[in-house]
C-alpha cells in the first residue's frame, strides 16, 4: 500500500520534472522512487505493516505477504531496468518524463493485480497496467514497427479485456459478488455450479491467458515484443508477465480453487500447447528479441503448471521464485542484447558473434542468464523449474514429462546465442562499449542469480 502511494507520487513528480529537468535527474528520481518503494515493500514484508490500511481496505485489496513478495519482485526488476534506462532511453528527449511516468503508473496497476481481493480491482489493475503499455509499445512514434506493435497490442488487448469482462460478469451473475472470498464461499456452498459459472471462469481463463501470453492467446507477444523499444520489451517480458501470473494465481487459488474440475482440463491443455508451440516455434527464430518472446511464452507454459495446482502448498512460492529468476535473467540478457544490438543495429544472433573475445564479461553475463532461462543447474532458473515441477508433479505427471521434454528442446534456441558468442569466429568490425550503469546492473543481476542459487530458501520462505 505504501509502495503504491510512493510509486504514484513518484510518477507525478517525474511527469512534472520531465518538463524541465535533466536526463540524469529524471533517472535518479525514478530509480529513487522505485528503490524507496522497494524498501517500503521489503520492510512491510519482513517487519510487518503497522499502518492498519490493510484492514481498512481489505475488501478491495490486501497487501499480504503474497502481494508484498511479488511487489518486491517487480520493484526489483523495475529498479534494474531503470538502471539500464539512462542509456536505454537515450533517444528520448521531451518524452522521457512521460515514459517514466507511464512505467510507474503501469507498476501501480501491477500492484493492484497481485493484491486484489475483489474482481473489480483485478480488472482495474489489468487496465492500469495495460493502457500505459499500449502507449509505451508505440513510444518510438516514427518507427513503423513500434506503431504496429502498439496497435496490435491495443486491439488484441482490448478484445481480451472484453472477453475477460464477459467472464467476470457471468461469474458475478452466478455468485452475486465480485469478492473473491464471496465467490469461494458461493462455490463451497454449492450455489455457483451452473454452466454459466463455468463459462465465466473459462472466459476469465482466456482473458488472463492473453495477459500472460499463453497459447492460443499469445499471438500478440512475438510481434509486440519485437516491435517495441527494447526497454519496453524487457519491461513487458518481466514485470507484466510476473504481474499477470501473480493475478492469475491469486484469483484461482482463492476464488476458483474449489471449482477445479471446470478449469483444470482447460489450463492443462493450454499449458501443454503453450510449452510445445512456443518452444518449437522458437527454434526457427533468427532474431534474439523474437526468440526471447517465444521463450517468454514458453515460460508462461511452465508457470501455468503452478496455476493448475493453485492453492497447494508451495505453488505460490514456486511462481514467486520462478518469476524472480526469470525476471532477473531476462533483464540481464536484455542488458547485453541492448548493448550489442543497439550499437550494431543488428538484432540477430549473428550480432553476438565472437562477443566472448571482445567483451568476455558481457558474454559471461549473457551465458549465465541464458543458462538460467534454460533452467540448467545450478542456476536459479533450475530451481524455479524444479519447484514448479515438484508442485505439479503428483497431479499432472504427464504434463511434467512434457515440460521436461520441452526444456530439452529449449536448449537448442537458448544455446544459439552462446554458440554465437563463444564458438563462432568474429566477423563484425564493430566495437562494443558497455555503459557504466549497465555494468552495475549486470553485476547486481549476476550476484542475485548466484545468491538465489545458494539460498533459494530465502525466497521460498516469503510466502508462508
Amino acid at each position: 500500500m505504501k509502495a503504491l502511494l510512493i510509486l504514484f507520487v513518484t510518477a507525478i513528480v517525474v511527469l512534472f520534472a520531465g518538463l524541465s529537468a535533466k536526463r540524469q535527474t529524471l533517472v535518479l528520481l525514478a530509480l529513487g522512487g522505485v528503490l524507496i518503494a522497494l524498501g517500503a515493500t521489503v520492510s512491510d514484508l519482513f517487519v510487518g505493516d503497522t499502518t492498519g490500511w490493510n484492514e481498512m481496505y481489505a475488501t478491495m485489496f490486501r497487501f499480504d505477504s503474497y502481494a508484498l513478495a511479488f511487489g518486491a519482485v517487480i520493484l526489483l526488476t523495475t529498479a534494474l531496468l531503470f538502471g539500464l534506462s539512462g542509456w536505454g532511453f537515450r533517444h528520448l528527449s521531451d518524452t522521457l518524463g512521460d515514459n517514466y511516468g507511464l512505467i510507474l503508473f503501469s507498476i501501480c496497476g501491477a500492484f493492484c493485480m497481485f493484491s486484489f481481493t475483489n474482481m473489480i480491482m483485478l480488472f482495474l489493475g489489468i487496465e492500469i497496467l495495460s493502457i500505459p503499455l499500449y502507449v509505451l509499445a508505440g513510444s518510438r512514434r516514427d518507427n513503423l514497427a513500434s506503431n504496429e506493435a502498439a496497435l496490435k497490442y491495443f486491439l488484441m488487448g482490448s478484445f481480451a479485456t472484453g472477453i475477460l469482462l464477459f467472464g467476470i460478469t457471468l461469474v458475478y451473475g452466478s455468485c452475486g459478488t465480485f469478492d473473491l472470498q464471496g465467490i469461494a464461499s458461493a462455490v463451497q456452498s454449492g450455489r455457483a455450479t451452473g454452466n454459466m459459472f463455468s463459462i465465466g471462469i473459462l472466459l476469465i481463463v482466456a482473458g488472463l491467458s492473453f495477459k500472460v501470453s499463453a497459447v492460443p492467446f499469445h499471438f500478440w507477444a512475438p510481434d509486440v515484443y519485437s516491435g517495441s523499444p527494447n526497454m519496453i520489451t524487457a519491461f513487458m517480458a518481466t514485470v507484466v508477465k510476473t504481474a499477470g501470473f501473480a493475478a492469475f494465481y491469486r484469483l484461482f487459488s482463492t476464488a476458483f480453487v474449489d471449482s477445479g474440475e471446470v478449469w483444470n482440463v482447460a489450463i492443462a491443455a493450454i499449458a501443454a500447447l503453450t510449452m510445445t508451440l512456443a518452444n518449437t516455434t522458437a527454434l526457427f527464430q533468427k532474431d534474439f528479441k523474437r526468440m526471447m518472446a517465444y521463450s517468454s511464452i514458453s515460460h508462461a507454459g511452465y508457470l501455468l503448471l503452478a496455476i493448475l495446482v493453485a492453492g497447494q502448498t508451495g505453488a505460490a512460492s514456486a511462481i514467486l521464485l520462478y518469476t524472480l529468476a526469470y525476471s532477473i535473467a531476462t533483464v540481464c540478457a536484455f542488458a547485453v542484447y541492448m548493448t550489442v544490438a543497439e550499437q550494431n543495429a543488428d538484432g540477430s544472433f549473428s550480432a553476438f558473434n565472437g562477443l566472448s573475445k571482445k567483451e568476455p564479461l558481457l558474454a559471461a553475463v549473457m551465458a549465465i542468464s541464458v543458462l538460467s532461462l534454460a533452467g540448467i543447474p545450478p542456476t536459479v532458473g533450475f530451481f524455479g523449474k524444479y519447484f514448479l515441477f515438484t508442485a505439479a508433479f503428483e497431479a499432472y505427471p504427464w504434463l511434467i514429462v512434457l515440460a521436461v521434454i520441452n526444456s530439452a528442446i529449449s536448449i537448442y534456441y537458448y544455446f544459439k546465442v552462446i554458440i554465437a558468442m563463444y564458438f563462432t569466429s568474429d566477423e563484425n568490425a564493430y566495437t562494443v562499449s558497455v555503459p557504466v550503469a549497465f555494468r552495475w546492473v549486470m553485476l547486481v543481476g549476476i550476484l542475485l542469480i548466484g545468491l538465489l542459487t545458494v539460498s533459494p530458501d530465502t525466497i521460498l520462505g516469503l510466502i508462508p
Binding site: Y386, F393, P456, D457
Partner: protein
C-alpha cells in the same frame, strides 16, 4: 574435507576465468594436485565398512528437504580418486597453443573437476542432479570452443541429448522425493528406504536408465558419442571418456538400483542384454575405423557396455569388477587419447592410413603406447585385466550365454587395438613418420604415469578392491532383488 574437494577446484576455476592469469597451467596443476593430496589424505582414517566418511551436511533448501550433503564411502572415494588422479594428467597433457586462451580452458576444466567430485560425493538426490548437470556445462564449452570439424552441431547434439536424458532422471527423482514420508527429503537414505509399487519402480528405473544410458553411453543411446569424442579437443575427450562417463555408471550403482530395486528384477535382463549387445556391436564397428580417435571412441562404448553389464548383473563380483574397471578404463582411455594427441600434434592427422613405422623413430613412445594398449586389451597383469575378468565372471554368473557373448570383447578388443597399434607403429615409415620426434619430457611424464598405473593396478588390483569392498557389501545388502 569433502567440501574442499569441491571448493578448491571451483575457487581456482573462478580465479582463472575472471583474472585470467598467465601461469594458468601451473595454477590449475597446483589446484588439481592439492585435490589429489586431499583425496589421498582422505584414505587415512577411512572406515571401509561402507559407511559415509568425512561427511559434510548443511541444509540447502530446508523447506523442501534439500541438503548440501557430501560424504565418501568406498565407492565414492574410488571415483573421487579416479577424477583427481586423472585431472593432473589431463592438465599436464593439454593446454598450449591449441587451447587459447589457456586460462579459460583450465578454468573450465577445474570447474568440471569440482562438479565431478560433487557428483561422486553427493548424498542428496537433488544435489547429485545439480552436480550432474553442472559437469555438463564446462565440458560442453571445452568441446565447442576448442573442438574440430562440426563442433557446434555435434556438441549441441551431445548437450541436448544428455541433458534430455538426465531430465528424465530429474522427474524420477522428484517422484521418489514425493514418496518419502512426512516432509519430503532428498537424502540418499530416505530415498532408498522408499518402497515403490512395481509399476512405479518400472518407470523410475527406466527414467534413470535413460539418463545414465545416454551418459555412459549404452547401445542404442550412444550415437552422440563417437562424433563428440572425435570432435572434442583431446583434453575434453579425456574428461569425457576418462571421468565423465563414470558419472553414469556410478549413478547406476549409487542411485538407480538402490532407488528402484523392485523393477530391476524384471528390467535388468533388458539392460544387460542391451549392454552386452553394445559390446559386440561397438567392437565390430571399431574394427574398421580409420580415424584413431573414433576407433577408441567405439572401443570405449564396448568397454563401458561391459562395465554396465557387470553392474546390472548385481552380484558382488560384477559390481566390484565394474568399480575396478571404472578406474582402470579411465586411466587407459586417458592414456590412449593422449597417444592420439601426441600423434596428431606431430602428424596433423588422426587417420591410420597416413601413419606407420613410428616405432622406428620413436621407440619410447612405441613402448609406452604398447603398455597402455595392452591395458586396454586387458592382457593379464595390466590394469585392464582384473576388472574385465571380474566383470565377465559377474555377467557369466548372471547368465552364461550373455557372459560368453560379452567375452567376445577380449577377442574383438585384440582385433581392433592391435590393428590400430600395428598401423601406427609397424610397417615402413612414410615421409611424415620417418622423422617422427620421440616424446618430450612432459609427454614422458604423462604417458609414463599412465603406463606405471597400468602396471601397478594390473599387479595389485586388490588395493582398489579393498577400498570399495565394504561399501559394495553394504549396497548389495541394502538392495536385493
Amino acid at each position: 574435507m569433502s567440501l574442499y574437494l569441491i571448493l578448491i577446484p571451483f575457487v581456482s576455476s573462478l580465479i582463472l576465468l575472471l583474472a585470467r592469469p598467465a601461469a594458468s597451467r601451473s595454477i590449475a596443476l597446483a589446484a588439481s594436485l592439492a585435490n589429489l593430496a586431499i583425496t589421498l589424505f582422505a584414505f587415512s582414517g577411512f572406515n571401509g565398512d561402507g559407511s559415509f566418511n568425512h561427511e559434510f551436511s548443511v541444509p540447502w533448501v530446508s523447506s523442501a528437504g534439500i541438503h548440501f550433503r557430501l560424504g565418501l564411502d568406498g565407492i565414492s572415494l574410488l571415483m573421487v580418486l579416479l577424477s583427481n588422479l586423472l585431472a593432473p594428467l589431463i592438465i599436464l597433457s593439454s593446454g598450449g597453443e591449441k587451447y587459447h586462451p589457456e586460462a579459460r580452458y583450465f578454468g573450465l576444466l577445474l570447474m568440471m573437476l569440482g562438479a565431478l567430485n560433487g557428483v561422486f560425493m553427493a548424498l542428496d538426490g537433488l544435489l547429485f542432479y545439480v552436480f550432474y548437470e553442472l559437469a555438463l556445462i564446462p565440458i560442453y564449452f571445452i568441446c565447442a570452443i576448442w573442438g574440430g570439424d562440426n563442433r557446434i552441431r555435434v556438441t549441441l547434439k551431445f548437450f541436448i541429448y544428455t541433458f534430455a536424458g538426465s531430465l528424465f532422471m530429474l522427474v524420477a527423482l522428484i517422484y521418489m522425493y514425493l514418496q518419502t514420508p512426512g516432509t519430503h527429503s532428498f537424502l540418499w537414505e530416505d530415498l532408498v528406504s522408499v518402497q515403490l509399487s512395481n509399476g512405479a519402480a518400472w518407470w523410475v528405473a527406466l527414467a534413470f536408465f535413460l539418463a545414465f544410458a545416454v551418459k555412459m553411453p549404452i547401445f542404442p543411446f550412444h550415437t552422440w558419442q563417437p562424433d563428440t569424442y572425435t570432435t572434442a579437443p583431446t583434453g575434453g575427450t579425456m574428461l569425457l571418456a576418462g571421468i565423465m562417463l563414470k558419472m553414469g555408471t556410478y549413478g547406476v550403482i549409487r542411485w538407480m538400483i538402490p532407488l528402484a530395486p523392485e523393477a530391476l528384477h524384471d528390467l535388468s535382463p533388458i539392460f544387460i542384454s542391451l549392454a552386452v549387445f553394445g559390446i559386440v556391436y561397438a567392437s565390430i564397428i571399431a574394427i574398421k575405423q580409420t580415424d584413431l580417435k573414433r576407433l577408441i571412441a567405439y572401443s570405449s562404448i564396448a568397454h563401458v557396455g561391459l562395465i554396465a553389464a557387470g553392474i546390472f548383473a548385481w552380484n558382488k563380483v560384477g559390481v566390484q569388477g565394474s568399480l575396478l574397471q571404472m578406474l582402470n578404463h579411465g586411466i587407459n582411455v586417458v592414456g590412449l587419447f593422449y597417444v592420439v594427441e601426441v600423434l596428431e600434434r606431430r602428424l596433423g592427422t588422426r587417420s591410420l592410413s597416413e601413419m606407420g613405422g613410428i616405432a622406428k623413430s620413436a621407440p619410447n613412445f612405441a613402448a609406452l603406447f604398447m603398455i597402455i594398449m595392452l591395458g586396454a586389451v586387458a592382457v593379464p597383469l595390466t590394469n585392464g585385466f582384473p576388472g574385465e575378468f571380474l566383470l565377465l565372471n559377474g555377467v557369466w554368473n548372471y547368465n552364461p550365454w550373455l557372459g560368453a557373448l560379452a567375452g567376445l570383447t577380449i577377442i574383438f578388443g585384440a582385433v581392433y587395438m592391435l590393428r590400430a597399434y600395428g598401423l601406427v607403429m609397424f610397417g615402413k615409415p612414410n615421409d611424415s613418420t620417418l622423422h617422427f620426434e620421440d616424446i618430450n619430457i612432459r609427454e614422458w611424464v604423462v604417458l609414463g604415469a599412465v603406463a606405471l598405473m597400468v602396471l601397478v593396478f594390473g599387479f595389485f588390483p586388490q588395493w582398489i578392491l579393498n577400498i570399495t569392498d565394504g561399501s559394495v557389501n553394504r549396497i548389495l545388502s541394502v538392495v536385493q532383488f
